[in-house]
Amino acid sequence: MANTNLIKDKYKLDIIKYRYFWLAFTGILLIPCIAAIIYLAVTQPNHAPLKLGIDFTGGTILQYSVDKKITTDDISKIRTSLEKTGIKNPVIQTTMTSSNKDAEVKNLVSIRTIFLGEDKDKTAQITDAISKDYQGAELVQVNSVGPTLGSELLKNTLIALILAFILMVIYISFRFQVEYGWIALYTLVQGSIFLIGIFAIRGIFFDTTVDSLFITAVLTVIGYSINDTIVVFDRIRENMRFLAKKYSSNEIINASINQTLPRSINTSLTTLFTLMALYLFGGSTIKDFVLAIIIGVIVGTYSSIFVAGTVLSIVKEKLAKKNA
């Protein structure tokens, strides 16, 4: 049952009062993100808004044969020495040939990295790094490989996402009201721009590349944001139904945001606990992925508290003026 004593409830956060401040603040945060995205899209030859990793660009696979079995610790060691020589995010896998059953099984390490092409120096550097740890390591094969995620697949995914967005706007418009649908879409797009923008900035300054997991991270964040926004909207919808005669829409929106505040904070906290543990203690290969989701969760929670409701209150006011 909706709480009928809204005014008696002290607002912990009077968000609506400072709504233009929050909108401006959000806008200012967005500027560097958009700038970085545009900068990369213009300056990069492939016009991607992010620095792309080997999943998208393809790269080189080097295979070394070594004379002992490679353990998990060895992989860590190789990773560290490769990163010291400036090879970023190498994919290191142990491999065993089984094509010829009679031949003795060879222990191989396969290293996937950016496209090396004719760059003999870099290859030599990698070989040096490997030989330091393994006497008699031998480069047995070098292959240039294409991207694992072709542009076709990427295009399909993007189309799917746009379709999904359209359907979502229709659903929310149907279950709530049309303006709720558009505002939900707005917060999602804005959240995605934040996430992509932050990685674009990292790309510019730290040469951080994104791999296919980044797409998953963006999807996860979108899923999380939809959930967050709908929870707040649901509360507004419920309060509007019961209290619209007694209170103005701004009061109701403010109260609804405050009522859902403990939930919003607790939910993000629980998610962040798991993610922070993964980030701090997890393996290096998933760090960027986890970081992307952490940023996304924070942005999602922020928008559900400070953006969704404020934009709704402004839209509601404009609509009311138009109808008056």
């Binding site: 292959n143 709530f176 999807l219 959930n227 929870v231 290096s284 998933i286």
Partner: protein, 433 residues
Amino acid sequence: MKNKLILFWLIMALVAGSIFVLYKKPASLGLDLVGGSRLMLEAQTSDSVPKITPEIMDSLQYAIENRVNALGVGETVVQKVGTKRLLIEIPNITDTAKAKEFIGQTAQLEFKRPKPMPDGSIEWESTGLTGKDLKKSLVGSAPVTGEWIVELEFNLEGAQKFSDLTKELTGKQMAIFFNNQLQSAPRVNEQITGGKAQITGDYTYENAKEMVDLLNAGALPVGAEVIQEESVGPTLGADSINKSKVAGIVGIALVMIFMIIYYRVLGLISCFALAIYAIINFAIYKIVPVTLTLTGIAGFILSIGMAIDANILIFERTKEELKMGRSLYTAINSGFERAFTSIFDSNVSTIMTCLILYHFGASMVKGFALTLTIGVCLSMFSAITVTKNFMHLIFGTSELKYPQLFGLKKEDIENAYVATETKREKAKFGVLD
């Protein structure tokens, strides 16, 4: 109360069943987590295709991708290597040999015309109409004899070619070759313009099905041969995975501790509900089966986040109702009712998004959409059925004696006005004064 006990035992039976499944069926994990097989495929030139062009490699890659996906192992990798090779990585599956055979099969469908030789024998000559011109194929059964046949449907260009060819060969024989083996050589009675054809050839259902699968996955534009086969370790690095496992467990423990500290008994209930949720979830992954990769696990983590969120929503709502002076039983019920609409709407939006992503997305995205859909559907069950059942069984219709159990202060409850019976009734129907 009796119904609630029955429900409780039903839930327990489901858990027992899931544990049985978890115990019996092997997990299917992706390339990034456990590695798998790496095959190197080389395109072979032939008389009809003397040179391997980049376009041919593109369509070869596309066909191989389709085919690998038809194996149903999920989350595979197909990359071009140099000018005429493809690198295929398939996660650990039990039958690599079969996969290799399936992938390597050329599935070349060709229509040929007879060419009389000087010595009086007949040789078959290519016509240019091949599997490339197909739109799709189906397994069918012949109308009179009832034997299994393969039905072909040509695309626009193919239909034109087929029509021209049947016109040219009216009164003569036309041969259909699959992988250079003569399937049938029917006599062409008249020009066929509908763009449809059939192949008869004493097929068993399995034969016909395999042929149809291969044709639909896309015939390989050129012959291809597996020239190298290796087993590979996980792409995420075994070192990294071990660390992440530990980190994941630490993370879950932190969440549980937080829930118990903040929501007390309710938190404890949600921990049990979430454990049940996880067990059933993983059992479903094994039944479907879902090849779990990091992407899939991200979907799972997101769904578990939403499941926790559902619990938090319900608990917050129940606490609010308690603060307003409702009896415990009513507070729990209306807490659920009030939280339900937002859980429902957010879950429906998520499921809709996932269905579309599953339908159109790349294989990696599919894995994510699948685990998230399963997780979200299950989280509704977990929150609405399991958590509610536990709460009712534990608290029953008793009065709230110890508000601390809910993380509430004594004053919160004492200050609240006592709801009258009529108000309680009204609340049930959502009527407000």
